[in-house]
């Protein structure tokens, strides 16, 4: 069996370019032998001295990197900030766009609105992972090839407009608007492509009779909430008038939903008739879950807005 020193020297030389290997090997071997001799002369036994010396020299790959001046970081300080900016820029928008496009395609061309959200989310995640991988790979290669990007120096002209006093961020507002419009889309979409009935036809989930007044009313409330999001973004923070309007809109949405639930008018009676578990008490469970969720969301939203308004007023 080869000695520890042989194995150590071999492990150190593996990443070193071949033309320099022999000389580094000879020198390293002599140095290790000198260090071992230094310890045995002080009375230590040869075997434990060798172990100690090699432990002191440390990870062979780290030593090899020092010999050949290689970096031990994926992306160093030179490229880190530009890598981070590029990644943030790309990962903010592209996965969202790809996810929405895939979801819409699934719902319309594919004719499966039920699977649209799942497909959208999975495409968005895959896109984000791909972008992160390829961008990072490009910068890791740059780091190793020592290429100068020739980027301009930073100057005060590149300072962002914002000074940090904005409580409502743009991505947050976009997410809220997308969620609200998505809910409107669901309310409309469930009427045409709701629950597949088994024989190829579709059943609306909500009672179609509600289209005479209540569903349009709820949609108007949701669109008004989009208006609130815009006003909030322009105000840069929660103000007490905004909190009041938000509370009113929450009530205007939750109260009708709760009332319709309590009078058993929300779900499509035909749908309830079709499914045995809905007929035999399932409706009550669904009613209870939806009612609790509606109340929790409304209360949470109102409390959250009040807390933020108070924080902003300080």
């Amino acid at each position: 069996m080869s000695s520890l020193t042989d194995r150590y020297v071999a492990a150190t030389l593996r990443p070193v370019p071949p033309p320099r290997r022999q000389e580094i090997a000879d020198e390293l071997r002599a140095s290790i032998a000198d260090m071992v001799d230094g310890r045995t002369a002080a009375g230590q036994d040869a075997e434990s001295a060798e172990r100690e010396v090699l432990n002191e020299l440390g990870d062979p790959e780290r030593l090899a990197a020092r010999y050949s001046d290689r970096t031990l970081q994926l992306i160093g300080p030179r490229y880190f900030l530009i890598w981070w900016r590029v990644l943030r820029l790309l990962v903010t928008y592209i996965p969202a766009v790809a996810g929405v496009v895939a979801g819409v395609a699934k719902a319309t061309v594919g004719g499966e609105p039920g699977g649209a959200i799942g497909v959208g989310v999975s495409v968005a995640i895959q896109t984000a992972v791909q972008i992160a991988f390829w961008v990072t790979l490009c910068f890791a290669v740059l780091e190793r090839t020592d290429v100068s990007l020739g980027l301009p120096e930073w100057t005060v002209d590149r300072l962002p407009e914002e000074t940090g006093d904005r409580q409502i961020s743009q991505p947050d507002s976009w997410a809220s608007v997308a969620f609200l419009l998505g809910t409107v889309g669901l309310l409309v979409g469930q009427h045409f492509r709701g629950w597949t009935a088994g024989d190829g036809s579709w059943l609306p989930v909500l009672d179609p009779a509600l289209w005479s007044f209540w569903l349009p009313a709820l949609i108007v409330v949701l669109l008004a909430t989009v208006g609130l999001e815009v006003a909030k973004y322009r105000a840069r923070r929660w103000t007490w008038p905004l909190v009041a309007v938000n509370a009113l809109l929450n009530l205007a949405f939750a109260a009708p939903v709760l009332w319709l639930l309590s009078t058993d008018r929300l779900l499509n009676p035909e749908l309830v008739e079709r499914f045995a578990w809905l007929r035999e008490g399932g409706v009550d469970d669904v009613t209870r879950i939806v009612a609790v969720a509606t109340v929790v969301i409304a209360v949470w939203d109102i409390v959250d807005s009040a807390v933020k308004a108070r924080r902003a007023a300080r």
């Binding site: 020198e27 140095s31 000198d34 002191e56 020299l57």
Partner: protein, 129 residues
């Protein structure tokens, strides 16, 4: 470490482990560049890696073996050191010596070190006055 942490850290804000760590980092930074200067000075008299390591340690320049050996190679590649294999003794060893170019670089480095020392002395005097 030969420095007394309690003396360096006289203020009440400076307590326990954290100050020890901070001091260690700053001392490391302060010492980093001096290993090159010390090696170039010591190798005016030719020597091999391990012997140089011991000489530097004996003269108050403790340096890790895994730092010094690659450093010697790098200085050789930059032309500041020359090397020669000595095969007369029982074990062949690579002896390094400060080259002419290394000597002129060393003079500039030493002059700069002295300038730093002078500037610091002037600054200390100015603050105390």
């Amino acid at each position: 470490m030969m420095y007394d942490v309690t003396k360096v850290c006289a203020t009440q804000y400076c307590v326990g482990m954290a100050s020890d760590d901070v001091l260690r980092i700053h001392l490391q930074e302060l010492r980093r560049g001096t290993v090159v200067v010390a090696s170039l000075v010591a190798l005016r008299h030719p020597d091999y890696g391990y012997a140089l390591l011991q000489r530097l340690t004996d003269h108050g320049f403790p340096v890790d073996a895994n730092t010094l050996y690659p450093l010697l190679r790098r200085l050789e590649e930059q032309g500041l050191l020359t090397s020669e294999w000595n095969t007369e003794e029982s074990r062949p060893r690579k002896f390094y010596r400060t080259s002419d170019e290394g000597e002129s670089v060393l003079r500039l480095l030493l002059a700069d070190l002295a300038a730093v020392q002078r500037s610091l002395a002037g600054l200390i005097e100015g603050v105390n006055r």
